[in-house]
Symmetry: C2
């Protein structure tokens, strides 16, 4: 079964893992299941259920409307914690609000409306669909030019392509720091520098990076970012997203959805929109409090572990996955769909195989390995370091090899996988 790398190697890595104890801080209902889809939906932290019960029963049930006195700034408080421990931003520059798509719309809209005279938006032609659609909508409504930069599906955007596209008409560049498909990791500081030199702003989508890869928005000169909290941050299904606006831009930008949570002296309910000077001007309205509350205990785990240590383990998990794939899977027709080394990626890795969909479905059945599928032929393997063991990676790839080699996967017609 081993063929190349014995399981003992993975066992030793687990024994030496300084983050190993964090796995017990998550709910694991089925110890046999290997879950390699934390890049879609992170696992449930063990503390979340009790916290939610308290918010529901004491906060809502007992405190009723009075609890809003406490709840009203949770989006800002969680934002400050994200800023300090995950994003490398300053207090008052990050807030939790709405969904990633709506936040992208708000910040891209704000940047475009402030960029009078420049009429081009650049995006990665292979970026996550909702990002592309949101930008298409904004460009359509405002009569702007949307340029889709050609990008290597398995390798990410070439910065020379970006450089040559950055002409004087470019108002905004929208990019994902980590590609949702290949996992390719961009050089944030370099991109920001190129754009700044060309007089354009950059809006980053950090969905597949936050909590997996060290991000230092301040040091990298980033101006705008959004991202989701339900992947490596384990905030729960559809937990609300974050947005970041560098503080010097608060006075310059005005987002298009003018809601009362952005209003100065909100409860005076004045006649005209008069947004606060701070990050809350990018809020719209009442947040979904239960989903918001679940971010708190999840974020506490990331804070305790530290993103640097999470990344260190992520790189080792990635290297093990690479080595096993080369030894076991390449001979079976798999081909890498990601940059070649873990340092060039976020915390997931993708593989091409003509039968990827059926293999993925079969793995999730008796083989008890959950990873995910992306059209047309990619398996995506998420290595969320807080709860993924080295032996999980070894076991999963062994089962993947077995299923593929034995061709025991189902031959039913292709359907489509769901959810990013």
């Amino acid at each position: 079964m081993e063929g190349g790398i014995p399981r003992a190697v993975a066992e030793e890595l687990d024994a030496a893992d300084p983050l190993a104890a964090f796995r017990k801080r998550f709910v694991i209902t089925d110890p046999e299941l290997v879950y390699l889809d934390g890049n879609s939906l992170g696992r449930l932290p063990a503390a979340t259920s009790d916290l939610l019960r308290e918010v529901v029963e004491k906060g809502w049930g007992g405190g009723l409307v009075r609890s809003w006195q406490e709840w009203i700034d949770w989006g800002a408080r969680l934002g400050d914690r994200l800023a300090a421990h995950v994003l490398g931003a300053r207090p008052g520059e990050v807030v939790i609000s709405d969904s990633t798509s709506v936040n992208l719309y708000k910040l891209a809209g704000a940047a475009l409306d402030a960029a009078r005279g420049r009429n081009t938006v650049l995006m990665d032609a292979e970026d996550f669909p909702t990002n592309r659609y949101v930008l298409q909508g904004l460009a359509d409504q405002r009569g702007l030019r949307l340029r889709r930069l050609p990008s290597d599906l398995d390798g990410g955007l070439d910065l020379d392509v970006l450089r040559s596209a950055l002409d004087r008409d470019v108002a905004l560049v929208v990019l994902s720091l980590v590609s949702y498909r290949s996992g390719a990791l961009l050089d944030m500081a370099k991109v920001n520098e190129l754009a700044r030199a060309a007089g354009a702003r950059v809006l980053w989508d950090l969905s597949h990076a936050a909590g997996a890869v060290p991000v230092d928005l301040a040091a990298a000169g980033a101006e705008l970012a959004v991202g989701c909290t339900y992947k490596y941050l384990n905030g729960g299904p559809g937990s609300p997203a974050f947005l970041y606006v560098r503080s010097d831009l608060h006075a310059v930008l005005r987002q298009p959805v003018w809601g009362w949570y952005g209003q100065r002296e909100q409860f005076r309910m004045g006649p005209d929109y008069d947004p606060v000077p701070g990050i809350e001007r990018f809020l719209v309205s009442t947040p979904p409090l239960l989903s918001l509350a679940a971010i708190d205990p999840a974020l506490a785990l990331v804070e305790e572990a530290g993103v640097d240590r999470i990344r260190t383990k992520g790189l080792l998990l990635g290297r093990l996955a690479d080595d096993l794939a080369a030894a076991w899977l390449t001979p079976l027709g798999f081909r890498s769909a990601s940059p070649g080394t873990p340092e060039q990626r976020g915390s997931h890795v993708s593989l091409h195989h003509p039968d990827a969909w059926r293999i993925c479905q079969t793995l999730a059945g008796e083989a008890k390995v959950v990873c995910d599928y992306r059209v047309p032929d990619r398996l995506r393997i998420g290595l969320s370091p807080l709860y993924t063991r080295f032996t999980d990676v070894w076991d999963a790839l062994a089962r993947l090899r077995e299923v593929t080699a034995g061709r025991t996967y189902a031959s039913r017609p292709a359907d489509l996988a769901r959810v990013t």
Copy 2:
């Protein structure tokens, strides 16, 4: 203590109340507290906590990303239930999504973008702040004219004012069916008819009506509506909102936030935005699932009770409140801030008093009556029929009389109340 209406009258009304048993279906942690703010945040249904635990522990903890197969259409399923039992709409015309403000932005934007050649938006100058701000933002971005119709703060919009404002330039009229402040209830069918005759569309905000007042969107000829689920529908703090678009308009309207939840064959992730033909084209992205899930058990209670019976009780509660206020409060300097009969209102009633803020704060303390305050001098009393007893109204107004007559309310400086 009685002075006018003996408590026995309220006790008899409770004894005869066909909905009396529903109170037991809610969590009541403090039996002495009279909660008259269900128009801001409805009480916690007793079934919600267990349902949430199941969604969190089994769905998220156990099912992990696989649970999205089940979750993905919850917004549409709940929308269909709302359509059938609360809104008088057809299947496929209502969906849960985002916040009320974001939904208002999407539908107002869609209507305005489809109304080429007409450049005026009409709104009630006294409408809820976020509605006014959202429309200001849309008008500003699109260079449209926003006309604020003068409206009686205590009585609502006069339809003659609307009629005379409906000229050939009006694209859209945005109105709340029930005023958040006075509770004034508009005639939806009449307004729709006036607007249709003038070639304009109407977008309704049903936040203070849904679950309290019978709404029949189809019969009233309504085209567009939004509303919240955390007031009389008891969906929990910040639970996501609903939106309604009449089916014949799905092909005509395109909302401005082009997200992947509106995309045809969402998981094919095609290059260009190509929205589905149905109501899901008005969705943007992944919903906050925990907050969404809490709507289910809450809606079940409204379905079981029936909005007609809820309204019947609401009218009786309103009449009792009116009678008690006339007998006890008018002599103490209170003055009605609402239309004079319950039939002209939603399920809340407002009163002016120069010391409203301090009285409201004192009531919430030792007197254990939670109602709310609106600038500058209004007490707002919410009568959510599913869990409010006639004796609650009697007790609350007796305590209100006592506090005001004895001037036992605090004299600390005015602050501002929070949350609608």
